[in-house]
């Protein structure tokens, strides 16, 4: 009881406030190109470093190892290999799908970097590292990364 009283006393001395944090984010030409290609043409595009020849998916402007600007666009496969995964079983309001579903690290054929996305497989027993998956595109694209709706096991 003594503890509760102390908490009440403390509570009175606490100032509660709220700060609005408005922002905008210039996603840039690389994001624009990637999102447009998946939505319009169902193509997954990466960029290639002119120095180390590594293909980055998702695309970015600078190769962090070579400090080179990457400007050569290459199409990579819609299919890839799962390198690792986790299964979401607890539901929260911000999730894109109803659990259970998986998030996987996927190496697309033709890419040198890994890509994190949803694997829509409701039975976790069917998931394994090394399994092959393929992108499923949204029928009505909304210019979001979720225009690749999910990857399905093949």
């Amino acid at each position: 009881m003594e503890g509760e009283k102390m908490n009440e006393e403390l509570e009175k001395k606490v100032f509660r406030g709220r700060i609005k944090v408005p922002y905008k984010h210039t996603a840039g030409a690389y994001v624009e190109k990637f999102i447009t290609e998946i939505g319009k043409n169902n193509k997954i595009m990466g960029v290639k470093c002119p120095k180390c020849n590594k293909v980055f998916v998702p695309p970015k402007m600078i190769c962090f190892k070579c400090f080179e600007k990457m400007e050569e666009w290459v199409e990579v496969s819609k299919q890839g290999t799962v390198k690792g995964f986790t299964v979401i079983s607890h539901s929260t309001p911000v999730l894109p799908l109803k659990p259970p579903f998986a998030y996987g690290i996927i190496t697309l054929d033709g890419a040198d970097t890994d890509f994190v996305h949803i694997i829509n497989e409701s039975d976790p027993k069917n998931l394994r590292v090394g399994m092959r998956v393929e992108a499923v595109f949204k029928e009505k694209p909304r210019k979001r990364i979720l225009d690749i709706e999910y990857f399905k096991p093949i």
Binding site: V21, Y23, T26
Partner: protein, 363 residues
């Protein structure tokens, strides 16, 4: 944006990313709606992959804290060279949102938080105390924005702005009108620091650090002086004494100072000892701080022409170095031997660096 600045600096020094020992980056959390900017820019845009990268964030002084820490790292012998880069992208967030979190929730956030309010109060106190007119302040904007026309990197290009334009611009926060205030800019500034041995490989025309000086301060509400920028008076006295500078107007050839408002430049030139208290306007009227004057102030166009916060004070040091290296193009002052750069920010903080053409002590 950051990559462009870093690439220009590295190319100019004929260096590859692998040649860089360590990297200091500077940017203010929350100012562009992001946090922990090391994640966004420390590896890709500045070549920090597998290198020591340290971020410095001290508000308006971020750039000068960066510039001074770059000097400490080299002067201490810890690194043989270091890349120093500051930036801000103010189009994307609200700087005031970020600044507000620095202030006391009960006493300060509802009234004095942000940059504009305190600067307006300081201008008002200064104007009344010394009898300075709005017209006098407007002359600073006219000078600096004319100078900015000679600087291809300056954000606001208004070479034909007049005193009337400033005095008739929108009132923002009395007595500050729109053109009494600095803009919100996007920009990045990158510098290469090196020790004496390493410098020989990079250039035969470097700018040398002669000394640095810092004074920090905090007013809780207004429990200490809110005008006459005491930190600038203290920091400048210290550095002049250390370097044997008796009369800064004679001994310095150019100064790049951090004036967030037109009024600030008048007041700061007094605090820095370029003239007596209340004489900032007279100093300007006599032409001393003009491009052709005895001590030109802000040939770059100053903060009134560009303010990408994390870069702004580093730009002051960079412009001082550019003047010494004689690479200022149309904004070059002839025969610069000694130049001062000033950072202002934090809670009325001042950070100074004096650079010179000669590596030997001043005198």
């Amino acid at each position: 944006m950051i990559y462009e600045a870093v690439k220009m600096a590295l190319d100019d020094a004929q260096m590859e990313p692998k040649d860089v020992d360590a990297i200091l980056i500077g940017n203010m959390d929350h100012f562009e709606g992001i946090n922990f900017s090391e994640m966004w820019c420390g590896i890709d845009a500045a070549p920090g992959y597998l290198k020591p990268v340290v971020k410095i964030a001290t508000g308006g002084t971020t750039g000068s804290s960066l510039g001074i820490c770059g000097y400490y790292n080299i002067a201490s012998g810890f690194y043989k060279n270091i890349l120093v880069v500051g930036w801000e992208k103010l189009n994307e967030g609200g700087a005031t949102t970020g600044i507000i979190t620095a202030f006391d929730p009960v006493w300060e956030r509802p009234s004095l938080a942000g940059a504009l309010g305190p600067l307006a109060l300081m201008a008002n106190i200064y104007a009344v105390k010394y009898g300075i007119s709005s017209e006098q302040a407007a002359k600073v904007t006219v000078k600096n924005r004319r100078n900015a026309a000679n600087n291809p990197f300056a954000h606001v290009q208004m070479p034909n702005i007049t005193i009337d334009d400033v005095m008739n611009s929108q009132m923002i926060s009395y007595p500050l009108r729109l053109h009494d205030c600095c803009p919100q800019s996007e920009g990045a500034c990158a510098l290469i620091y090196a020790n004496e041995e390493e410098t020989k490989k990079i250039t035969d025309n470097p700018a040398w650090f002669k000394g640095v000086s810092t004074a920090h301060y905090y007013t809780f509400g207004c429990d200490d002086l809110m005008f006459d920028l005491p930190t600038a008076a203290i920091a400048s006295k210290k550095i002049y004494k250390k370097l044997g500078i008796k009369d800064p107007v004679k001994d310095l050839d150019v100064a790049e100072i951090y004036e967030p408002t037109s009024w600030s430049e008048l007041s700061w030139t007094e605090s820095l000892g370029f003239c007596g208290r209340g004489e900032g306007g007279k100093l300007l009227d006599e032409g001393i701080t003009q491009m052709s004057g005895e001590l030109p102030v802000n040939p770059s166009g100053g903060v009134l022409s560009s303010n990408p916060i994390g870069a702004t004070a580093l730009v002051r040091f960079a412009e001082a170095a550019i003047q010494i290296m004689g690479r200022g193009g149309k904004r070059q002052i002839p025969d610069v031997e000694t130049a001062m750069g000033m950072g202002f920010g934090g809670s009325l903080w001042t950070e100074l660096a004096i650079l010179g053409k000669d590596p030997k002590p001043l005198r």
